[in-house]
């Protein structure tokens, strides 16, 4: 697979994102699959941020560590990102009279045959009497010219954005023309060749995991969203809030995460579909509420968008360190479901499932995502609107059935799978108490030992029924793989890219991917790992949390682990090298991860 990587760097607020997004949209419309990856710091202006686009005519779902071109807004990028460039690559900058003073940099440029191009942005903008912000379009035009992409396409993109403001549009067009003209002067004969495009990408969507999850929330019939800002969950709140006038949803930015969780539970109890999203620290605050829903058997959906911990740690970076938190959070024992999205498709598809499972089993559901998935840009076919079905389980709404209900039906311990009938306040029926204290079947408080045992068993019986209802993890690969890879969440994209690479294609590797993480299905894992020569876990955390859960569940510990916990996702070449060395028979290496 031929892939080209473009990395735009600069201070936050300089236009890194707008240039990245404009390039991504244009390239997708030209017939390329684009994967966008953002790095930024926890501040508003300044810092050093980047937007990388990996482009191919085939599926691309990961970033490379080395890129074909670095486009920098300031001189920091010249120094910081020089070594990100591949041999023969391009460094496009806008710092007048820049000279590399460091002899090592000079040597690197010479050895690697890096082509350094300076765009006289200030001079051109001055000539056009244009504001600095138009530098974004100007430099995009230069990139467009280097990529040999048609000028008109860039004009069309700009027209979409500024079409309603004639003056601004004309100025943008002038910048595009200047950019193309300048490229001929500053980079004569230099081009960056893209593979032959494929028209199948042209009409696909380009969106982030958070936007896809937002659409999934809307698709699921969720009508109330209560949130509190915390990276990387905030983009979901922003998306849902920005959409509210279209969707008619009730959106509330609460005073804290406890409020967000409580309001969600109150709204779910009343009978609508409601959700909240947060990150680790906010989720910690929600856990008492999570536990409450365990005993009141109120359906609840929490999105936990992971970033590194503990504490505030790396607020704008990624991790998969909260799996065991999701599985173990909240005091006491009760049935819960933990699922994890891995890409935009999952982010959309899993949300209706989350609500369905929450209502069918009357349990809390935790949907894991992470910064990498939430903020990366994916090329995605239009979502299939026909798959999701509304499933509300034993919710009684029929008037005749309501009339026959007894208060003791609510928490009836005789329910075979532990799931008893549920009905909504305002229904003309016998009433009950959703009871946070241990209770009898009608929600009355009782401290009776036999009742306590029965109710605990009722609530935990749901675990077996839920486990039986969950699909097995997704498996791709030969029937008896020599190597079994096990992973979850946003690693899926890079794992697929690596497995499809020339180095891996012919190897006998299977990949087991967990979407549903608790209760944990072990059948496929046990079957595949028993015959595989080696099992390799790939996770973005320090402990190998899924590996630990599977070890607990089925005692298998003949595994290797490829772990990463520096706030960055796995990059393409990085994972390929790590996996290659994991496949090399080396006993000392094999033991390392165990």
């Amino acid at each position: 697979m031929v892939r080209v990587a473009i990395k735009i760097v600069g201070a936050q607020g300089q236009g890194v994102n707008s240039v990245g997004e404009m390039c991504a949209k244009g390239l997708k419309r030209s017939g390329f699959c684009v994967f966008g990856y953002r790095e930024y710091m926890s501040l508003i202006k300044g810092g050093h941020s980047s937007y990388q686009l990996d482009v191919s005519a085939e599926d691309v779902r990961s970033s490379t560590t080395r890129v074909d071109i670095v486009v920098t807004f300031n001189h920091h990028g010249l120094e910081k990102n020089l070594r990100d460039i591949k041999k023969g690559g391009i460094l496009l900058h806008q710092t007048p009279q820049w000279k590399f003073k460091n002899p090592e940099d000079q040597a690197f440029i010479a050895e690697q045959k890096i082509r350094v191009i300076e765009l006289p942005t200030d001079a051109i903008l001055k000539k056009l009497k244009a504001k600095p912000i138009l530098g974004n379009v100007l430099i995009t035009a230069v990139v467009w010219s280097l990529l040999s992409q048609p000028e008109e396409q860039l004009r069309a993109l700009v027209r979409e954005q500024f079409g309603h403001k004639k003056d601004l549009l004309d100025l943008n067009f002038a910048c595009i023309a200047e950019g193309f003209a300048a490229c001929k002067v500053i980079a004569p004969g230099i081009t960056l060749s893209l593979p032959k495009p494929d028209s199948k990408w042209q009409d696909q969507l380009l969106l982030t995991g958070s936007q896809a999850m937002g659409l999934g929330i809307i698709h699921a019939g969720c009508r109330v969203y209560v949130g509190y800002p915390m990276t990387p969950s905030s983009p979901i709140l922003t998306f849902i809030a920005d959409m509210q006038n279209e969707t008619g949803m009730a959106v509330k930015q609460a005073e804290d995460e406890i409020t967000a969780a409580q309001m969600m539970v109150g709204a779910m109890h009343m009978g609508t579909r409601a959700i909240t999203a947060t990150s680790g620290g906010g989720f910690d605050l929600m856990t008492e509420t999570l536990s409450l829903t365990g005993i009141t058997e109120t359906p609840a959906v929490f999105i936990l968008a992971q970033r590194p911990g503990p504490g505030t740690a790396l607020p704008t970076w990624t991790a998969q360190g909260d799996l065991t938190l999701a599985v173990g959070a909240g005091h006491g024992e009760y049935t819960r479901l933990v699922m994890a999205a891995s890409d935009t498709q999952d982010s959309f598809d899993l949300l209706p499932e989350a609500f369905n499972f929450a209502e069918e089993f009357q349990i809390p559901v935790i949907v894991l995502t992470d910064k990498h998935l939430g903020e990366a840009l994916f090329t995605q076919p239009a979502f299939d609107q026909t798959i999701a079905k509304l499933k509300r389980g034993r919710l009684v709404t029929d008037l005749r059935e309501l009339a026959q209900l007894k208060p003791a039906d609510r928490y009836d311990p005789a329910a075979g799978d532990g799931v008893s009938k549920r009905w909504l306040p305002g229904s003309e029926a016998a009433t009950f108490c959703a009871q946070g204290d241990e209770h009898g079947p009608d929600g009355s408080v009782t401290e009776d030992a036999e009742n306590a045992r029965q109710q605990m068993e009722k609530r935990l019986k749901k675990m077996a029924a839920l486990k039986a209802a969950l699909p097995e993890p997704l498996y791709v690969g030969p029937k008896n793989p020599e190597t079994l890879i096990v992973s979850w969440g946003s690693n899926r994209g890079v794992i697929f890219d690596v497995l499809e690479s020339a180095e891996m294609k012919k190897k006998n590797i299977g990949y087991l991917h967990y979407q549903y993480l608790w209760p944990l299905k072990t059948e496929s894992f046990e079957m595949l790992s028993r015959t595989a020569k080696r099992t390799v876990f790939i996770e973005c955390n320090h402990g190998g949390q899924l590996a630990s859960l599977l070890k607990l569940a089925c005692g298998r510990d003949v595994t290797q682990k490829i772990l990463k916990f520096d706030g960055r996702p796995f990059f393409f070449e990085e994972l390929r090298e790590k996996l290659l060395s994991a496949l090399t028979p080396n006993p000392s290496l094999d033991r390392r991860g165990a």
């Binding site: 698709h219 959409m243 008619g248 949803m249 309001m263 109150g266 009343m270 305002g426 009433t431």
Partner: protein, 284 residues
């Protein structure tokens, strides 16, 4: 009253103010012709929370300090169902005071009944933020060092739309207050001064009897915010009760939401799979 009667006997101490509040709540619902299935009662954790199975109606007995946001969420999901939150002064002025602040600001359509006995009863008589300074309590044998929070001054500073004060010995007045509170457009704050014969030895039933008076009998106008605030805060010699302040001019939270304007259904009625394709075009 029979419709709201529970089979479970009450477990409060003899002389507890909860009996009075419990009776008034039931009477107010009956007077308003609300059936048990037409209302949601939400309870915090504390002595008052033991009411959760001593009354019929749809009920939710949640966590300590969190009854306000729980009830607010229920109200947001279905504003056509009256929702009443019951909480104590420990839960509402210590653990969950942030929720109270923002609920008043948000003006959710709900009634909040503060069971104000100026201590933590169920955990055996510790001081709350409303216990007088220097008062000796369980776990503060030398008297509490903190200054007392003036709850009425605090609540009035938040620009409430409904403030009332009752006394657990006057069921008739509490009933009138609660009827008005349940009908109120937004957030109704109802402070019920409550006798706690076991742990509150400073504001006893007798003390409250002697000090409480109905402000309406002295011509108080509940439309006057400044006068209401002054009256509510000044408890030096006498304690004014009744509806101290009310305005119906401020829309409730859900009425303020632009996307809900003109919508005749409630979020509870709107749950269905929604086709999102028209919103996906902007991503192409």
């Amino acid at each position: 009253m029979h419709d709201f009667a529970s089979v479970h006997p009450c477990t409060w101490c003899d002389g507890c103010g909860d009996y009075g509040i419990w009776s008034a709540a039931k009477r107010a619902l009956v007077e308003l012709k609300i059936q048990p299935w037409q209302v949601l009662l939400c309870f915090d954790v504390g002595c008052h929370g033991n009411m959760s199975d001593k009354i019929e109606a749809y009920r939710f007995h949640g966590l300590h300090g969190r009854v306000i946001p729980l009830t607010a969420g229920a109200s947001l999901a279905n504003p056509t169902i009256p929702v009443i939150a019951f909480g104590g002064d420990g839960a509402s002025f210590s653990e969950g005071i942030g929720h109270l602040v923002h609920a008043v600001r948000s003006n959710y359509r709900m009634t909040f009944i503060l069971h104000n006995n100026a201590n933590y009863g169920l955990t055996t008589g510790q001081a709350s933020a409303l216990t007088p300074q220097d008062q000796k309590m369980n776990s503060s044998p030398n008297g509490i060092p903190e200054s007392t929070l003036n709850s009425m001054d605090f609540v009035f500073s938040l620009k409430p739309t409904f403030v009332a004060r009752g006394f657990s010995g006057d069921i008739a007045q509490m009933t009138r207050i609660l009827m008005a509170a349940i009908r109120h457009r937004g957030f109704a704050y109802v402070d019920m001064l409550q006798a706690c014969p076991t742990y509150n030895k400073f504001a006893t039933h007798e003390w409250l009897m002697q000090h409480c008076y109905d402000a309406a009998t002295e011509g108080h106008d509940p439309k006057n915010f400044e006068k209401a605030r002054a009256l509510a805060v000044d408890t030096q010699n006498r304690v004014a009760t009744g509806i101290l302040y009310q305005t119906e001019d401020v829309p409730a939270f859900h009425e303020h939401l632009k996307p809900r304007e003109g919508v005749t259904t409630t979020p509870v009625e709107e749950v269905k799979i929604v086709d999102t394709s028209k919103w996906e075009r902007s991503f192409a």
